[in-house]
């Protein structure tokens, strides 16, 4: 759906995006993830044709965004960081304007506008001037606008920023729903958001891509070992004895809590992860010691993200060091 090849964007001496290449396949919800200032918005602006690249190639559905912009743009619905609303228009007038500008046929316009109003649940608000709408509703009008013209690809730049928790949940539900019929790319620096709506993620830092995979794979590849936190009414010695025969256990750390309860943080081999809770249950049942709490913890997207972005920091620093050394020798 999207092919990005060796994309570079420089602002004067500052490189916002450096040699970015990735592919986005159809029919998934992609998270575009990176710390603030990583180049997310710049990349999205280039993909949607709002910004020219310094060098590189972007193809949308086979059309080059720089060579055949009008054909490529017809495949994309874009919601920029600030919903681009004309405040002197009602939501309905605005949607009509966008539909006409996108070249939606007159006969099809009514149906499409009704559809996007329904999907974004604007029924009660579409007669109002957009300047009187709350931020959440403006965002929805922005999404509705992106859906007009029936593009295959929807690109949303930080769609939940500045919304209240209820609105955030509503927008996320909307994105999930859109993901069933469209390819959706959304940028965010909020990991829980990516986790709750996306199937794949592209992680960038400092204008470079550092990972592009499904969430599951990302967590598996970068997770290392998993942990189980256990609270048992038993002493530390009893716990260690009970765990000793289990192959999956790699290490135990115990802390004494009140009333004879001990908390154990158990490091487990992720290959045996599925069997561990059951084994633990039987191990403690057999010595007549009740488990009060059992929680599995494996590397989260947060861990992956921190690990990857700090790696990018380190490689950047070491690159700086070598440059500095080169400078000295010269």
């Amino acid at each position: 759906m999207i092919e990005v090849r060796h994309l570079v964007k420089k602002y004067g001496n500052h490189t916002a995006v450096s040699d970015l290449s990735f592919d986005i396949d159809g029919g998934q919800v992609y998270g575009f993830l990176g710390p603030n200032g990583a180049g997310k918005s710049t990349t999205m602006n280039i993909i949607t044709g709002c910004l020219a690249a310094t060098s590189g190639e972007v193809r949308i559905g086979g059309y080059d965004i720089f060579e055949q912009p009008e054909k490529a743009k017809k495949l994309v619905g874009y919601l920029p960081e600030h919903p681009p609303l004309y405040l002197d228009m009602t939501a309905e007038e605005y949607l009509k304007f966008v539909a006409e500008a996108k070249g939606v046929k007159r006969s099809d316009m009514k149906r499409q506008i009704e559809y996007v109003i329904e999907v974004t649940r604007l029924q009660e608000m579409y007669k109002r001037q957009t300047k009187f709408l709350s931020k959440g509703y403006r965002q929805r009008v922005g999404v509705a606008q992106a859906l007009l013209g029936e593009p295959e690809l929807i690109i949303l730049d930080e769609p939940t920023v500045g919304l209240d928790p209820r609105q955030i949940i509503e927008i996320r539900d909307l994105i999930k729903q859109l993901g069933k019929t469209h390819t959706v790319v959304l940028s965010s620096h909020i990991l829980s958001e990516i986790r709750s709506v996306c199937t794949s993620a592209i992680i960038i830092a400092k204008g470079k891509m550092i990972a592009n995979d499904t969430l599951e794979n990302l967590e598996n590849i970068y997770s290392g070992d998993s942990y189980v936190t256990l609270r048992v009414k038993a002493s530390e010695i009893e716990i260690r004895r009970a765990l000793a025969p289990m192959d999956a256990v790699m290490g135990v750390e115990c802390t004494q809590l009140q009333d004879g309860v001990t908390e154990a943080k158990i490091d487990i081999d992720s290959d045996f992860r599925d069997k561990v809770p059951e084994q633990l249950f039987y191990a403690f049942a057999s010595i007549d010691r009740p488990i009060l709490h059992l929680a599995e913890e494996h590397a989260t997207l947060e861990d992956v993200f921190l690990e990857l972005t700090s790696q990018a920091d380190i490689s950047e620093e070491s690159a700086d060091d070598t440059e500095a050394k080169d400078g000295e020798t010269v």
């Binding site: 949607t48 020219a52 600030h82 002197d88 228009m89 304007f97």
Partner: protein, 287 residues
Amino acid sequence: MTAIFKRELSSYFKGFTGYVYIAFVLFFIGTYSATLNVRGTYPSFEYAIGNMSFIYIIVIPILTMRVFADEKRQKTDQLLYALPVSMGQVVVGKMLAVAVVMVVPAIVSCIYPPILGKFGSVNYASAYGSIIAFFFMGVALASIGVFLSTLTDSQAMSAGMCFLVLLVNYFQTTLVGFLPTSALASFLAITVVILILAVIVWYMTKNLLAAAIFAVVIGGANFIYYSVRPVKYGGLFPDIIGKLSMFSRFDTFIESAFDLTAILYYLTVTALFMFFTVQSLEKRRWS
């Protein structure tokens, strides 16, 4: 393009701008006609139009200040960039809307000559010719305002710049009276203009070679012509500057002559500044 045109036109009449523009121009046409034609018992309507044309200096900045400046401020320009329409279509759509607002007072003023005709002998061809020229001059001046509105996101700034440019243009013919008329002065002034243009070429294309070629070829031609025919340069620069004034071009119409070259000049200015507007918008995509 039609979508852009319709939106722009409706926004003029959703706020006050469109009404204010039309009312202001009609008020001045009415006042000048009442004073010069009725009280002064002079039947030439073109005389009233010619005398009130300075009003463009005030109303055109108001009409054009928001065209692109407000898009930038509201960040709706991103929508324009993301839509499957070219910047050329956007500019044509917006400029058409401006022209439609401007044509309203021109059409209304068409009722003046027959009314005046009831009381004296009116040269209708000349009167309507001046209305047509008045409209085209307005569109040309507005195209400059539209271009200037792409340079900033502040409407006040956009209006201020437009006001200054139109003011200078209005007084241009008076100002050139102060310029030296010797051949050498004209040659030097033209050389400076060519160098400034070369710098603009360099700034826009970021290509030093192109700018150098431009400077050498045009500058060289200028130099050769000056060495061969220095007489031709006497008063040439003030003459060119004077000819570039759009307001002074209008004088011929007051003298009851229909000057087609002036209309072509207005159309050329409009086309040129629409082109500049597109370039300015495209450049923003690159920054």
